[in-house]
Assembly symmetry: C2
Homo-oligomer: 245 residues x 2
DNA sequence: CCTGATTCCGTACGGCGTACTGCGTTCAGG
DNA sequence: CCTGAACGCAGTACGCCGTACGGAATCAGG
């Protein structure tokens, strides 16, 4: 039975994600709710950066002792999974009457928006994705949109994964800089300034001719703006369109 | 002068990357070299995972006190930057006589290989890229290859960035699972088994019809194998080819 | 040989996640 | 209503982490 139902910890996590248990009747009333704990964690992550997220700080934010959080959540990893699913809850789904390409692009934009709103999600993708209801709803809808191409199932799964990958990759670049800046107080300009000696001392136009030329033409000015990943996605979807015929 | 030469810390980091200082004449001989320290850190990261990488463990690996490392390296972040540049040192460059597309694909495969060999590099992309010689040599060569298309400089920078993004995105998915497995001892199968209760309890084919269909056809069996990202890159490069005319 | 520079490293501080424990509250069963 | 079980809460503590500091050992130049 344990074999078909999974481990107790896995069970507990799924319950938390799908079916948060009502407060038990016995004992003192809970001062908080699970949602409050998750919301507080998201606030701390938003204000101080994911590296500064700690159980103690979340507890302090709630005016509660650190260990009290453990009555709501088994541990920090589990809390983080709940944060991820909560972030996906805000995702808006595309109008299913639109052509498939418009729907896929809509999903991509929503994902981009989500990463901007919750930069710590970038880190989350180095975890296994939680099997949360909101995460799965979004996945399902993206698969549905891609499946409208009529391509075989394996291709659909591949394409959906690649769309996610591309937005993630672009978001990573864009978000990393700003989140490092807000966290450490060192902006991109500060960083380059701090390493200014590089250009005079070690950089040579002979060793890096192409970069020098691109730099001269301003090619590095806005490498990872919206325009960039939209351009990449467009080329990719052109290819998909041709495949779908 | 400080303005045009950057901060002292930035200076020190650049020196370490480009021009490791010879051991000073005064004082006791150094027991280690900078390269040994970096190599030891890479070994620890390879064996125990990047989350388990700590100064104390690196020092222990070298049979040395923890604080001794700080005579070679200003801190952990700087050591990590050196690890990144060292990983890029292994990158092989494509034959510049090949057509541009073959060269770009070669770079993509090399990047993929590098991520497999050094999974902790995935984490590194949440830093700012270090201005190391090997990192820059690889970047330059990729830009050079893309520039062979004859496209305008801005496009070249965009395309090179997108190629990197795509390989990174694919590698992230592939590497995350295996590195989590080796680190925690929980394989992907274990993970799914631990959450097995999900399928009977919360999953419903009505709520997730597309995923159910794809699953039934085996569409999730090898979502992120080499074949998948090569397929995505191919579609993207088809588009670039058409642009380049 | 002496001196000053430099390496090495023990100790310590403040942070982390969380196991354990004891206390006080609350409600169900009598 | 009374009481004991169940439970929320939080203080303390343990073993990690990065690293600041200072003392001891070691060496080259004078």
């Amino acid at each position: 039975m344990s074999e078909q139902w999974g481990t107790p910890e896995g069970q507990a996590m799924l319950r938390l994600l799908w079916d948060p248990p009502p407060p038990p009747t016995r004992g003192p009333k809970q001062r908080l709710t699970l949602d409050q704990v998750v919301a507080a964690a998201m606030e701390v992550a938003a204000q101080q950066g994911v590296d500064e997220l700690s159980m103690r700080k979340v507890a302090q934010h709630l005016g509660v002792g650190a260990m009290s959080l453990y009555t709501y959540v088994p541990g920090k990893d589990e809390l983080f999974e709940l944060m991820i699913d909560a972030a996906y809850a805000d995702r808006v789904m595309p109008d299913p009457a639109l052509p498939w390409r418009a729907q896929v692009e809509f999903h991509a934009h929503e994902a981009w928006r989500m990463y901007q709103a919750h930069p710590w999600l970038i880190r989350s993708h180095l975890w296994r994705m939680p099997l949360g209801p909101h995460v799965l709803d979004v996945q399902e809808d993206l698969y549905r949109a891609v499946a409208l191409t009529g391509l075989p199932e394996k291709r659909v799964a591949q394409i959906a994964g690649l769309v996610e990958s591309q937005v993630f990759g672009a978001a990573r670049s864009a978000v990393t800089d700003t989140s490092i800046a807000s966290k450490t107080g060192v902006t991109v300009d500060d960083y380059w300034n701090s390493r200014m000696g590089f250009w005079g001392t070690y950089y040579s136009a002979e060793r890096f001719p192409t970069m020098t030329r691109i730099w001269g033409k301003g090619g590095f000015d806005e490498e990872y703006s919206d325009a960039s990943w939209e351009f990449g996605l467009a080329l990719f979807l052109d290819g998909v369109e041709r495949l779908a015929g």
